[in-house]
Subunit: 344 residues, 4 copies
Amino acid sequence: MIRFESDYTEGAHPRILQRLLETNEEQTPGYGLDQHCEAARNYIKKACQAMDAEVHFLVGGTQTNATIIASILRSYQGAVTAESGHIAVHETGAIEAAGHKVLTLPSRDGKIRAEQVKELYRAHWADASHEHMVQPGMVYISHPTENGTTYRKDELEALSAVCRECGLPLMLDGARLGYGLTAPDNDLSLTDIARLCDVFYIGGTKVGALMGEAVVITQEALRRDFRYMIKQHGGMLAKGRLLGIQFETLFEDGLYFEIAGHAVAMAMRIREAFTAQGFSFRYASTTNQQFPILPDEVLKKLGETYAYSFWEKAGATHSVVRFCTSWATKKEHVDRLVKDIQAL
Amino acid sequence: MIRFESDYTEGAHPRILQRLLETNEEQTPGYGLDQHCEAARNYIKKACQAMDAEVHFLVGGTQTNATIIASILRSYQGAVTAESGHIAVHETGAIEAAGHKVLTLPSRDGKIRAEQVKELYRAHWADASHEHMVQPGMVYISHPTENGTTYRKDELEALSAVCRECGLPLMLDGARLGYGLTAPDNDLSLTDIARLCDVFYIGGTKVGALMGEAVVITQEALRRDFRYMIKQHGGMLAKGRLLGIQFETLFEDGLYFEIAGHAVAMAMRIREAFTAQGFSFRYASTTNQQFPILPDEVLKKLGETYAYSFWEKAGATHSVVRFCTSWATKKEHVDRLVKDIQAL
Amino acid sequence: MIRFESDYTEGAHPRILQRLLETNEEQTPGYGLDQHCEAARNYIKKACQAMDAEVHFLVGGTQTNATIIASILRSYQGAVTAESGHIAVHETGAIEAAGHKVLTLPSRDGKIRAEQVKELYRAHWADASHEHMVQPGMVYISHPTENGTTYRKDELEALSAVCRECGLPLMLDGARLGYGLTAPDNDLSLTDIARLCDVFYIGGTKVGALMGEAVVITQEALRRDFRYMIKQHGGMLAKGRLLGIQFETLFEDGLYFEIAGHAVAMAMRIREAFTAQGFSFRYASTTNQQFPILPDEVLKKLGETYAYSFWEKAGATHSVVRFCTSWATKKEHVDRLVKDIQAL
Amino acid sequence: MIRFESDYTEGAHPRILQRLLETNEEQTPGYGLDQHCEAARNYIKKACQAMDAEVHFLVGGTQTNATIIASILRSYQGAVTAESGHIAVHETGAIEAAGHKVLTLPSRDGKIRAEQVKELYRAHWADASHEHMVQPGMVYISHPTENGTTYRKDELEALSAVCRECGLPLMLDGARLGYGLTAPDNDLSLTDIARLCDVFYIGGTKVGALMGEAVVITQEALRRDFRYMIKQHGGMLAKGRLLGIQFETLFEDGLYFEIAGHAVAMAMRIREAFTAQGFSFRYASTTNQQFPILPDEVLKKLGETYAYSFWEKAGATHSVVRFCTSWATKKEHVDRLVKDIQAL
């Protein structure tokens, strides 16, 4: 079985493992206060051109989202997101467990628009009963989204402007950030994101690391006591160096973008193969997740060799499925899949 | 600088890194549903002689404590522990963040006694205002404790009996469990612990792993939907296999106990060296943490070569400090320290 | 200004005030343990034909909803409700503050159907990622709903059957219960509700009392330690007798239904008056809240004499508004309003 | 049975009931936005000489404490209080349910000292592991305390100065404030309290009202969105006027202090009677709660006629008990008790 079901089916990029081996006997202080974390922080700040930002390393995505959101909101405030947002659907209520409602906006592609945020904000404050309703307290987006779609620079600029106008911190979930920034039609840079968002994170778990997410806090007001929040949310790894070493490796010479670019190129080949056969897609994704709409008998056949994940039914005879590539995807596996698609 | 300040200053046992390398390209399902996790679960159940227990892997100690406790208690219940318990002092309010009070009992050595639990339980229910007070809902102990002390089998049996009598689930935090079970005066086995506790965990982070804690739930009522709790608390690692591979390595042939025993032997040599010089100790620890009471000028001198951690002042001229060994402690470092102690 | 804007614009029914005066100097124990609360509990159990139910008195609706829901759900579970449910919209996140997601179902009239619940339940457990999503843990309905609509007996029986099949406790918010049970087309009795729901409450605040909600817990499993929950949620009134005295007065001889019936009769007259003039309604309400769709110029005119509340726009020139009656509504005020409607 | 067991055994002061009767048919907006609340707010601000303070009305003490504390603290912060503080002992974990640890200081009389707060603050920040511990975020005191003791003006000034130096908001729980401000040795005024505290409340429930606590927020930073907090915590009474009418009555012409003074005078007579008989007291209370240490046979005898509450054992043959007076205490009951004490 060749697995295209998710982007976390393998271990870590070999250079990361190599580095873990080399540093294994070093003795370092715990909890992210070691020199590897420090070096990684600097590489990331440089990559963002945000030398006065604060960088923290956490272990996983749900934890990172819950920690950031809880650090921003007052208890009667909620996080605004697309109805398909990860925090709205796939975190077993981690945001609510920290006391906050997730306020959802309709979205067909996983993205939300500046005007939607503005209207929700306006409607809240215009309502005579606004004190009886959860107050919008921040905006959460992901790039790429759960649907593999990405924000254009002008879209992010518009969102950022509305958020600043309304006093709503803008957070970007970058669990798959590398795959967004290396998409063929991407016009955003890390620097843009650091400039337009108040806090965001650079995902390691799905882009080459064993695990780990690097949180970048650009807005000064959001930095206060963030390490307390990490500790309380169970995200302060005793051997914090493990995260430092991994992000050091990923960011010291651009490995992060190199391996993300590989994944995207592989995904584009799969996309083109399906397209060439006349199949259409559920979302206009240019990143590492592709969502073709396929006849169930085709799926059955492909399923004999390839693992993919089921997304949703599309009428009686077709389904939407997800094919994921990653930094670890082998070219020969994609060659084979493309050939099998061509043979359909 | 030779570091004895904590038991998480290095990476992982070399066999663990070796195994991560060997398995790196394997493609597995995520979230702990892979074959390595399954194998590790079986090794652990066998070691506990508890084949119908449930075993789950989480990332760190604070997270594990918060997840287990939140899964047991109703919202008006609290966890009973020693006033020095990790959950009472060093988790930045993670238990309270999940809505629960920590109910503390006085303790000079980090342990609590069966009679203390019984009396607290009796006093709660005898109080006419008991509905106005947090109800004791479970008991949390650690073995070894924060002070390096351990429970004898008869003590744990008595605690367990009282807990069952009172309907209070008994949880054992085993972040350093290996170091307790290999202490020279230890008379407890994993099997005893599985029999006497309702839930406990076997610490990996401090005993040879990069990170990871293996939760063993023996009481059936506590198993329900535990994976939802893990996910909500941010402990469900996407690449769950990393935890499975590590515990597989530690438990397939007894490596866990072997490396823990090494650490304890090293600690005993340090203890003996201090004792021989006439120094006394704050706690009667037979495990990997030693707490000598030393004159401040001695500490200054030792501090030139060795990192230890400050514990508390002991009068005007002395301090209690902590020297930790671990699976990674080098014999030659201990030789040198012992020699330096003898030269004092 | 004659106020039809809500059903809590006056104080309390005169007989309640009279009773408060008569009992004012009695000395009683606090926290609901007095003889008036005991008497009121008995009257209510009799009215429900549920002598082994447990009855508790709380102060207000948001508090009561939050307390009941928190007492039922485990932390990873959510409460299923209509998207317009009070807990989903108008409680400033009180349910989320207790850690729980509100899982909403689409609804045009404020009611949810048995099949919707069954489908949501089925879909949750059929999803391979169900552990990553909030688990449905109970069902919350209100009768009448926020829209003034009511459940028919067969609808409630179907809902109750599905809930029991799925193991989901069914809770009924009866903040306006009197107005539902005295609706002209109502075929439900208190006894039916006690039989079909696991927990519900009888609203006092909006039906004749100064304040107060009487919670009836019929399912044994939900009774455990409920007073701890009330105290923790700030609902345990020191002078609990105030609630006991009010419900005693309302239930000793049917006053509750008598005054609720009056309100409904008044509302029906208003409804008929609008209908006769050719106006239509947003919801098919047969209870004390009426939602006519009116031209904005008509509203302006009526607004000179009558207070109503704005509900939503209905196109460019019309609005939906709410006219509420209550136990306190004066017949002469309704006469006047009806006349003014007829004159439109 | 004549009840001295608590200060909430009767209804409300007759003038309050009278006012409720007179205003019963008035139609007002809900949720505290009516003219009675407005008038009451103004009376209170005048009494505090704090015209730019914000005044809110809540229903009960536990709710008020939980709401204020949750509005002040960030999630990793705790409230500092005496170990006997109401929030530490008698609120069924309401503070923890909102996510916050209660940080206790030792106290023999229910009061805490400025130096204790300073030392706790200093020790927290001096600890290298401070990020692993709950951060002190505010200070909670009560006046009078649970033990009937009161703060002198110089003590409160010292506490206030330390709190401001450390950036810790100072909150005063005044559930029995009237009884403290009319104590014979009291040198504090409402104005002093408004000047020295950042937020406090004036208790109605125990001082003449049916129920109700008036929160006065003097510090501007703490006022933000407080009504959202009230609503979320279930404290926003639909018929908010009930609270407004009561505080209007209590504060329009000094009734609050008049009836509190009566209660204190009655308590002093009881104190003197016990003293004259050679009995001593557990606490040096000059307020409405008295804690004599009495032989158990004396208690048995008094218990035939008088209800008091048990406090704690004092050796094998004696107990500490509590006798409470209130605004409702009848002079003839105290005459009789004093006579019975004299006859012991």
